[in-house]
């Protein structure tokens, strides 16, 4: 049985201050969302950027959740980059949706792509 998958969600941000909605489904081969990591191309984009997330209609991060709480620098090992969920969040093909909001920081380059990684696992609990 496959135990881990890192599912990538690509969010295209076209302009300064843009709000972009994203939707999708988790891979149905995996039971649980274990963690999340957001990667932005420039550190200055992290000032004030927010990401909301709903999985199966339940709020995981409400609007205004700071991307800085979900990201980290390049020097951090891959298995330590993720914000880990203490609660059990069902994957199993569950629908997810959310919004990414760019903060409109001066000096940033547009367009860019925000990458959201979901860490999916097959464990029931850990």
């Amino acid at each position: 049985m496959k135990d881990h998958k890192f599912q990538l969600i690509r969010i295209g941000v076209g302009a300064s201050g843009a709000t972009v909605r994203y939707t999708g489904e988790t891979d149905k081969s995996y039971r649980r969302i274990r963690g999340i990591f957001v990667a932005l191309p420039e550190p200055i984009l992290e000032y004030g950027a927010t990401l909301s997330l709903k999985v199966g209609g339940v709020d995981v991060f409400d609007d205004d959740h700071d991307v800085r709480l979900l990201t980290c620098g390049q020097g951090v090992a891959p298995n330590q980059k993720f914000f880990l969920f203490e609660e059990y969040i069902e994957a199993s093909g569950n629908a997810f949706e959310g919004r990414f909001r760019d903060a409109g920081i001066q000096g940033a380059t547009y367009p860019y792509e925000a990458k959201v990684f979901l860490w999916l696992v097959n464990e029931q609990e850990s």
Binding site: R68, T71, G73, E86, E87
Partner: protein
């Protein structure tokens, strides 16, 4: 990680409350109510949202805040908010910057009150003014974002 001490739990809400600061030394009141499905608050994070022309990468005490729960019955938090340059701290794991563990049971009141106080660090830590322009830099308005980590009912 603090939240993991409780093991795997079924429901967590992460509530965000953002306040705006427009003047140096401003005191901004905080006054809101937890939603009905929150039964306890187990942690709090406060982050300054803004980018400032200051001469150091970290200002440990950019502002201070105080929070009371349950209609001022419980007063567990008096703390400072740092400002951190994202460019300089690119190697750090920052999932839980300044996470304050709490164990506040939310009862009938659900009120959270308190204040945030700007400590005027934008002026005190400003980059030296060079050239002919000797005017002080204007205060740059910013936000402070509070994230409350709560268990659902």
């Amino acid at each position: 990680m603090v939240g993991q001490r409780a093991g795997v739990v079924n429901g967590i809400r992460r509530l965000n409350k953002t306040i705006e600061v427009f003047r140096p030394l401003q005191v901004v009141p905080i006054d809101f109510r937890f939603p009905g499905d929150v039964r306890a608050c187990f942690g709090l994070q406060a982050t300054v949202v803004g980018r400032f022309p200051v001469d150091r990468p970290v200002i440990p005490a950019f502002g201070e805040y105080s929070l009371e729960f349950e209609g001022k019955k419980i007063h567990p938090v008096n703390f400072i908010v740092p400002w951190v340059s994202q460019e300089v701290f690119s190697d750090a794991t920052q999932h839980r910057p300044d996470f304050l563990p709490l164990a506040v049971q939310v009862g009938t009141s659900r009120m959270i009150t308190g204040f945030y106080h700007d400590l005027d660090r934008q002026r005190l830590d400003a980059l030296p003014i060079s050239g002919d322009n000797q005017e002080a830099r204007p205060f740059q308005p910013y936000s402070v974002r509070f994230t409350f980590h709560c268990y659902r009912v």
